[in-house]
């Protein structure tokens, strides 16, 4: 089986739309929690709860800077998801590589016909 459904794996961590939203925001760079609260439009305790889940699976790292806690994305923890999708991605890539050949052919023919649309 491709995936194990435990509560503390990356799959579970990103199953929640709000948590995906947090990861999206953090993909843009390190952020203090207030920024996340603002971006998500949720109350801080809720955001903190989601951040805790993400930290448990290592998807998010945190460090203190002065009085602020800064959160950042740790893409490496999401690798199991990437690996899972990779086989599917590869079959489409191969399919589209063949489509490249068909298109090169069509372009050539069209140009041969005088370039008409």
């Amino acid at each position: 089986m491709a995936r194990a459904a435990t509560t503390a794996d990356a799959f579970n961590a990103v199953a929640e739309p709000r948590r995906r939203q947090i990861l999206d925001v953090l993909a843009g760079g390190e952020r203090p929690v207030n920024d996340l609260v603002r971006a998500l439009g949720l109350a801080q305790p809720q955001v903190s709860k989601h951040l805790r889940v993400l930290r448990e699976v290592g998807a998010v790292d945190v460090r203190d800077e002065g009085r602020q806690r800064l959160y950042r994305l740790n893409g490496h923890a999401l690798k199991p998801i990437h690996d899972w999708v990779k086989g599917y991605e590869r079959s489409w890539s191969e399919r589209f590589d063949e489509l490249d050949v068909v298109l090169a052919n069509l372009k050539q023919k069209e140009q041969g016909d005088g370039g008409g649309k």
Binding site: P17, Y88, R90, S93, E98, L99, V101, L103, K107
Partner: protein
């Protein structure tokens, strides 16, 4: 044949029920659309490197049906069919998709819907295929099937290597 490849397909999971496949092509969109919707042309690319397409039926009108059959390298047959829900030539095609390998009693009540859009910039076309599934389980099954294909290819490759060593 050497082709200036536009890179690999990118797969993302925008929501729990969706798969988004994105790929750029070095061709204007009317050609990508043609290659995507003309049986003789689909036959030349759809099976990728996984096998041979033995049948490709396309009735390109809203309410019309499509059916693709492929014999995979391992000798087994896979077939898909569906219905056209929306067609905007050179812009967008929306179809349902049913995998015929699923026994009817296990088939989901709601169909998987494929939304394909073609956008052109500077003579290049970005194809976006959004696979909208009725549930996360079905979405996950579809992705797992890709993994099986990948594994099958791995096995084929292994076999080639083994033969070359003889």
């Amino acid at each position: 044949m050497a082709v200036a490849s536009s890179g690999t397909a990118k797969v993302t999971l925008p929501t729990d029920e969706q798969i988004l496949i994105t790929r750029e092509f070095d061709a204007p969109k009317h050609l990508v659309y043609r290659a995507y919707t003309t049986p003789e042309l689909v036959k030349r690319w759809w099976s990728g490197k996984c096998g041979e397409m033995t049948s490709c039926e396309i009735d390109l009108r809203v309410g019309g049906t499509w059916r693709y059959v492929m014999v995979a390298t391992g000798g087994f047959e896979v077939a898909f069919h569906g219905e056209y829900r929306e067609i905007v030539p050179n812009e967008r095609v929306i179809t349902t998709e049913v995998y015929e390998g699923v026994p009817e009693e296990e088939a989901p009540e709601e169909d998987v819907v494929n939304i394909v859009t073609f956008t052109e910039a500077d003579g290049r076309t970005t194809l976006r295929l959004l696979v909208q599934c009725p549930s996360r389980e079905i979405r996950d099954t579809i992705i797992d099937s890709g993994m099986e294909v990948g594994m099958q290819e791995g096995m084929d490759l292994l076999e080639e290597v083994a033969i070359s060593l003889q």
